[in-house]
Amino acid sequence: MGRPVWYLFGSTDLTTPSILAPTIAAFQTLSYTARVAARLGAKFFVPLNQGLAYTMASDIVREAYLAENKLEDFDPLKTVMYLPAGADRMYIINHMWEEQVAGAFFLGSWYHEAVIYTENAAREGAVMLGGTDTTHNIPFLVAICDYSVIGEELYALGAYVSQDVLQSSSLAGQDVGKYFAIIAILTGAVLVTAGISLSWLFALGW
């Protein structure tokens, strides 16, 4: 008992759209997780390595604690913490040992840190949930974590835990997109095999 739960984001550079999207998706899950952690009185810790992401996460966790009337458990300097990008690696490894992390979430845009953190958390016997949409490090999250979400599932996770009907129904919309992609590929491949060039379709100037 008393061992903490960590929520890690990986890379959180919000000026980069391809990193921003998974980070925002992970924020929605953070909101839910922080609330559960506050309700159960678990020690919760969120280190981040980018200023704007830090301000967002700090708001989210604070609001979650407020919603559960546990604001006294929220330490503005400790629960959510900014660490300069790069230095967070040493901090996290050292403190995973020291605090014997019991549970860890690895959601967001993950780069090389994924394997360091997951392996260290595994050594502490932590239960891990990992998920990212970066293709570079998803293998480690899949192989090492107890539970993993792959690619698009990361975006669905946030909508799913929100229990908002409209948000969940947007997932069905995404499925329509996938059916469209599959049909487009199949018809396109058949047409190309038949010798019909489709390059005009993609030369619309965009």
Binding site: G86, I185, A189
Partner: protein
């Protein structure tokens, strides 16, 4: 010349300090951690201060008065130091998320969605193209949320997973190779003939501390797990 030589020695010392996190929680890695965090925080502060001065304040001084707005937005971020005012900092966040999300959406429509479909429109005349088409389709359908996991979809789903796992295996292998290159890049600097003596000396020191800690069990941070 002396500064370069000193730099190499300091560089290899702090590198070994960083490598000691592999051993576990220990004072050398703690010291390196705080040193590194401090320097990096100072560096981040300085470089971003320079950036804001050059690109916002400098431009306002140069007569581009619309750059007053980002300065105000930046100052709005600092209101969060007082809990009642936190909502003010939502405005800069709204700007960032709006712009970023818009860029992400438009980019993913074109280069990810359309571009990848376009790349898969291959003539079905050899095994490579067939593998490509089937793999792309099944891997995409692995992520269908609304389809029940039964009937023929079960096989589609499993073969999609197969392709994804192959991709993961390839990434695993190439990442492993890349990591070795990284260590080698670092070791090449640390084991240069002119600084190697110091590196070895420091390594021996770390080793002695570790062996002492292990044999006497006197150092509490050395926990076998």
């Amino acid at each position: 010349m002396d500064m370069i030589w000193l730099g190499l020695i300091v560089g290899s010392f702090v590198s070994i300090g960083a490598y000691t996190v592999l051993i576990g929680d220990n004072p050398i890695s703690k010291i390196t951690e705080h040193l590194y965090t401090g320097i990096l925080a100072g560096y981040t502060l300085a470089i971003n201060w320079d950036f804001v001065m050059k690109n916002a304040v400098g431009k306002v001084q140069g007569g581009q008065f619309d750059f007053i707005i980002p300065i105000i937005l930046s100052l709005m971020l600092f209101t969060r130091l007082k809990p009642e005012w936190i909502w003010i900092s939502r405005y800069p966040v709204a700007l960032t998320v709006g712009v970023g999300m818009g860029l992400a959406m438009r980019a993913s429509v074109l280069s990810d969605f359309v571009g990848q479909i376009q790349g898969t429109l291959l003539p079905i005349n050899n095994i490579n193209n067939i593998v490509m088409i089937i793999g792309t389709i099944t891997a995409a359908s692995y992520f269908l949320f609304t389809t029940k996991y039964s009937g023929p979809y079960k096989y589609v789903n499993q073969s999609g997973l197969l392709f994804l796992l192959v991709a993961f295996g390839v990434t695993y292998g190439s990442t492993a190779s890349f990591r070795f290159e990284l260590v080698i890049g670092r070791l090449v600097d640390m084991l240069r003939p002119d600084v190697a003596m110091y590196t070895y000396g420091f390594l021996v020191l770390v080793a002695i501390i570790l062996i002492y800690g292990y044999t006497t069990k006197r150092i509490p941070w050395y926990k076998g797990r």
